[in-house]
Amino acid sequence: METLLNKEDVQTVLGEVRRFARGVVSSNVERPEHSLPRDSMDALVAEATEAGFIPDAGGDPTGLWVDLDDPLGLALSARTIETLASVNPGIAWSCHVRAMPVWLARRLNRPEALDEKETVVTLQGCYGLGRTALPRYLAGAKLVADDRAMLKDWLMPAQKDARRVVHAPTGFDGVLSPYFDGEAVGWMRQPIDALDPLPVGPTLGLDEVDAVALASSEAGTPLGLEDPEEARNIFAEALVIESLALVAVGLGCLRHGRDLAREQAKARKQGGRSIAHHPAVQSLVGSADSAVAVVDALLDRMADGPLRGSRVGDVFAIRAEAHPLLCRGATDALQVFGGSGYMQDVGMEKVLRDSQQLRLMGGTPGDLARFVAEWERVR
């Protein structure tokens, strides 16, 4: 396979992303206590698209989640998201949300999947990760009746008030959703109106992004996949990409929080000297430092090599440990601030809320760990 990217290319692109993040994005989010207005978010995403960091639906796309057969493609995308997240996690997540449908439409070879003006991809069903049924399906194990019932209900729940939760900027018109036809997961393009979108108000974190609860509906246009093996691969690949995005956003977020904590430890005095000299504070800052270092290494491993659905178990296993670490680092970083860490204008409480939010999206650490156990057992 021809290698399109080399390490210098990656560094060059990341340098541009860094300049964009620090030069353009940061000026929009200087006040952490103020949520970014929707029109500012739209303008930033448009600018990121213009700069080539987010792929456009038409033409020859560049940016996030493009060139994923390249051994450095995943790493470039993940580090792009991390860099943006170190300035604002919500904007980084929004960029991922915009890029994901482009990747999926290209992967499905169905450009018409993007007919809607703005489309988002939902991967998670109504609750958890489909228990043991999902790993069994993705590993190619023989499905039993309970697995089929679980996958069907997980992706398209029968309970009247069951809803899938989507975290994306509001205003999207269509959703690319997986569904289970009894044998394989297929994809469907659903108009938003068919899903009775219910705005659910503020969420724990990612203030810049809205949450919408979507009802279950069979209305939509199936995008059809004739090869069940390919269908399985595409779903697994999508889950790998989403996991990378979540960990990358979390890492960028904590990197920012860790830097804030370091600055605070240096500047703040207690007992007549800088608190950086107090072992209690050193332990807290060190906890954030080590969480950043460990998750940084884990992200390297997650993004190592070309995109393969078969890596979903490994990626989930890493994610299951990465998010609790990031949350521990964030809460310890906040504690360095004492009372001021609890105040919105300092920015630290947002780091913690965002970290917790990311831990709970796309399957919790517990869901991921149970997935991995079954995946390793059956594959």
Binding site: G128, M150, A162, T203, G271, A280, Q335, G338, Q344
Partner: protein
């Protein structure tokens, strides 16, 4: 619809192997010993309390369900009030709480609203029961109603009967009459957070609020920050150092909000517990007459430490309440959510998480009650142990509830999302949990020193 006979993986009560039925067949003399009555954990715990405290616990729960539950979401989402502004809903709550004796329960009737019988038990125990039940429903409103007691305790601990008669009793009378008179407690300064809560740091810190001797009293200058309820308080116990002296000169002054030079500068934008404002207070040469000194000059540090020793039990109570509330919310979610034809409660992984949450909550409640039961003297080591351990574990329980609910837990409507933001404060205020760990060592240091000498 009839409830299902048993959860997946369990036996029904009618099954031949179910202990429920088998115990009923044991000899009559043994049956009462092995057959507990069906009861929730809350009912079991309440039954272990002395009668007066059990009644108080039921009363607090009833008040919280009636008065706090329906306000909880709205007051959390409301914009932060500017100084001098109170949400109408919270103003009503304050009046109701005053009339029902919830602002006056530090003193017995007829001076306050506590029953004489409740004084058979340590006051900190009653207060911990109160903060638990209120925080279980809404920690923000709990703080809105309870920070007031923190402002009164220094006056009581100063042992100054004249001050109690002149300041507390009239205020209590107003509150019971439906005209709430709220107190606040002001120790934290911009340059002294932990220094105000820990002796070694205090010994070398520079006081930020200073009292200068003037004719007939004192002139206070400086700022206090993060003062819970400072925006609505009519009376504030303010701790200030005397001019040209260190924090060892701290003196407690009763400042009223109508004194010239007193200003509520702003309310902070907080992560959680948003029903209660954290105010920044400025003292622009506020004249405080001599008869507004609580206790004697230079007794402030002692009064402050004694107050914290008592109030940290109440913070631990908040934590227990938050853990309990989160556990109940998770159970409710698990029982009403279905997946593939089953309730989530049928899934073992969900049962395991709920068992952990129930047990952690019971464990911290047990720790707190065990310590508070004999806390006629509020010991620093015990109160700090309860404060940091209960709050750390409560946050862990709330995180478990979030985990159980997954991305549904992140939604404001889940209630647990708010509980997480609320619970995080308990690890910070009344001394960070790091400071509270050091407080345990400080209180036990003679034991350690004796050992070091022997070795």
């Amino acid at each position: 619809m009839n409830p299902q006979p048993h959860l997946d993986g369990y036996l029904s009560a009618e099954h031949p192997l179910s202990p429920r039925g088998l115990f009923a067949d044991l000899p009559a003399a043994i049956r009462p010993v092995v057959t507990p009555k069906l009861a929730t954990i809350w009912e079991q715990d309440t039954a272990t309390l002395p009668r007066g405290l059990a009644q108080a616990r039921r009363r607090y729960r009833s008040f919280a369900e009636r008065e706090l539950r329906h306000r909880s979401t709205a007051v959390d989402l409301a914009p932060h009030p500017t100084p001098g502004e109170v949400l109408p809903s919270l103003a009503d709550l304050l009046k109701t709480a005053g009339r029902e004796g919830m602002l006056t329960d530090l003193l017995p009737r007829p001076f306050g609203s506590a029953s004489l019988g409740s004084y058979r038990y340590p006051l900190v125990w009653t207060q911990a029961l109160r903060t638990e039940e209120l925080a279980r429903v809404c920690a923000g409103q709990m703080l809105f109603l309870s920070a007031h007691s923190l402002g009164v305790i220094p006056i009581i601990f100063a042992g100054d009967l004249s001050a109690i008669r002149r300041f507390v009793l009239p205020a209590y009378g107003q509150s019971i009459a439906g005209d709430p008179h709220v107190f606040a407690y002001a120790i934290t300064e911009p340059s002294a957070g932990s220094d105000a809560e820990e002796g070694h740091g205090a010994s070398i810190s520079r006081p930020g609020v200073v009292a200068k001797r003037v004719n007939g009293g004192w002139s206070l200058r400086g700022r206090k920050i993060f003062i819970s309820g400072g925006d609505i308080a009519k009376s504030i116990t303010v701790f200030a150092a005397l001019e040209d002296e260190g924090i060892e000169s701290w003196t407690c002054f009763l400042v009223t909000n109508d004194m010239p030079g007193f200003e509520v500068v702003r309310n902070e934008l907080k992560m959680g517990m948003r029903a209660s404002a954290a105010a920044e207070l400025a003292f622009h040469d506020v004249f405080v007459p001599d008869d507004h000194v609580i206790g004697k000059p230079r007794q402030g540090w002692a009064i402050n430490r004694a107050t914290l020793n008592a109030s940290r039990y109440a913070v631990a109570g908040m934590a227990v309440g938050l853990a309990q509330g989160a556990t109940e919310a998770a159970i409710d979610f698990a029982c009403r959510t279905r997946l593939a034809g089953k309730s989530l409660m049928d899934f073992q992984e969900v049962q395991l998480q709920i068992a952990d949450m129930m047990t952690e909550t019971a464990a911290i409640r047990g720790m707190l009650w065990q310590a508070a039961r004999k806390a006629y003297v509020a010991r620093q080591d015990r109160s700090s142990m309860c404060k940091f351990h209960c709050t750390d574990e409560a946050v862990r329980v709330v995180e478990m509830a979030l985990e159980l609910m997954g991305n549904h837990g992140t939604l404001h409507g889940s209630a647990v999302e708010k509980m997480y933001r609320d619970a995080r404060l308990t690890q910070i205020f009344e001394g960070t949990n790091q400071i509270n760990r050091l407080a345990v060592i400080e209180d036990q240091q003679e034991q350690f020193l004796a050992r070091i000498e022997r070795n």
